[in-house]
């Protein structure tokens, strides 16, 4: 479809869109004038019934845990899709990755950069683990912590050395991490079926609020999602970096 046809269609549909937008926004309550019931109920009972002090995590990994299952598998499917599409381009199917060339980026990285590359991964992984584990207490949880965890190995890239990144996060390990996260979350849900007769029902002792091991199975769900998210991000980055640094070198078109 040429650009002209697209613009024409948009101008044709524009008034309809504008009408729907105006109608919809006119029906909204004023900003700050909240009428919802669900949020109020959660705010009132999450602490007493779930022993979690972060209600966002209580919703994410307990009350709406089933939705999170779906969201986690969207993530899984999208990351798998990236791998599928980019690997198809390399015309090697499921075969092993090509051996990366010996040197990338600027060889003359300064000592400061080198020590930063050495320092960043453990620091970021530690921070990510903290964010994942404390999801039920303070802002955090598997989704946010997973991204920080994934950023850890990426810290090794500040010197432009892709090989160092690959050594910290080898391809097979990244794939295994992602699959493990998806599997663990589904299995934790099955635990609810076994111990509490409902899928993804919270079946572990709730513990004392503000303690690390409180909120029942929330920390475990959080860890599962954290593994899944970090695995998915690392897989996507690995595929794109492989594409750019290894396969993309020779011009094929």
């Amino acid at each position: 479809m040429s650009r002209r046809v697209r613009l024409g269609l948009f101008l044709l549909a524009g008034p309809g869109l504008a009408a729907v937008l105006v109608l919809g926004f006119r029906g909204l309550p004023a900003f700050g004038d909240y009428h919802g019931v669900y949020g109020r109920i959660v705010d009132n009972f999450a602490l007493s019934a779930r022993h979690a002090t972060d209600f966002v995590t209580a919703l994410n990994f307990d009350i709406r845990a089933f939705d999170t299952l779906g969201e986690e598998y969207i993530l899984f499917a999208a990351a798998a899709g990236v791998a599928l599409v980019l690997r198809g381009l390399r015309e090697e199917g499921e075969g092993p990755h090509p051996a990366p060339p010996q040197q990338h980026g600027f060889a003359g990285a300064s000592d400061a950069l080198r020590s930063l590359a050495l320092l960043l991964p453990p620091l970021l992984v530690g921070l990510g683990g903290y964010v994942v584990l404390h999801g039920a207490l303070t802002p955090g949880g598997g989704f946010q912590g997973g991204v920080v965890l994934a950023a850890g190995p990426l810290g090794a890239l500040v010197t432009g050395r892709y090989l160092a990144f690959k050594r910290i996060a080898p391809h097979s390990a990244v794939e295994a991490l992602e699959a493990l996260g998806a599997w663990a979350y589904a299995m934790l849900g099955l635990g609810g079926l076994v111990f509490a007769s409902r899928y993804l029902q919270n079946y572990l002792p709730l513990g004392i609020p503000t303690h690390l091991l409180s909120g029942g199975f929330m920390p475990l769900n959080s860890i599962a999602v954290g593994l899944e998210v970090s695995g998915a991000f690392l897989l996507v980055w690995t595929e794109f970096l492989d594409q750019a640094l290894i396969s993309g070198r020779g011009d094929r078109s």
Binding site: G36, T53, V56, F143, S253
Partner: protein, 114 residues
């Protein structure tokens, strides 16, 4: 003033959509799609806000305070993470399109052969 967050959401939606429609580069199309999607974040958080409400995290504040709706925050935070991978998938498709058609202009993709 109380309408400002919703106005921002509507503007982000329309400007992102315009970007998608008028785009001459698939990478730009994907980026504009992100802008469009950000409108939903602003809208959701705006709907969940209660006047003078605090963040729904009671680790260090008394529970009796007025709290905002945590439901919309869950939707937004999971979607931000998922969106990143979905955008990666779209960009992978752009790479694929460039390899196949030698161009990232959507107008050049008229012949969609399998």
């Amino acid at each position: 003033m109380s309408f400002l967050p919703f106005a921002v959401a509507a503007w982000l939606f329309v400007i992102g959509l315009w970007g998608v429609v008028s785009s001459q580069n698939l990478v730009r199309t994907v980026l504009c799609l992100i802008v469009t999607q950000s409108a939903t974040y602003v809208l959701l958080l705006g709907i969940g806000y209660r006047a003078a409400g605090k963040a729904p995290i009671v680790a260090d504040i008394p529970v009796v305070n007025t709290l905002v709706d945590p439901t919309v925050q869950v939707l937004v935070l999971t979607d931000i993470v998922i969106e990143a991978t979905v955008v990666a998938l779209l960009l992978a498709l752009v790479v694929q399109a460039h390899k196949r058609f030698g161009s990232v202009d959507p107008a050049e993709l008229r012949i969609m052969r399998g």
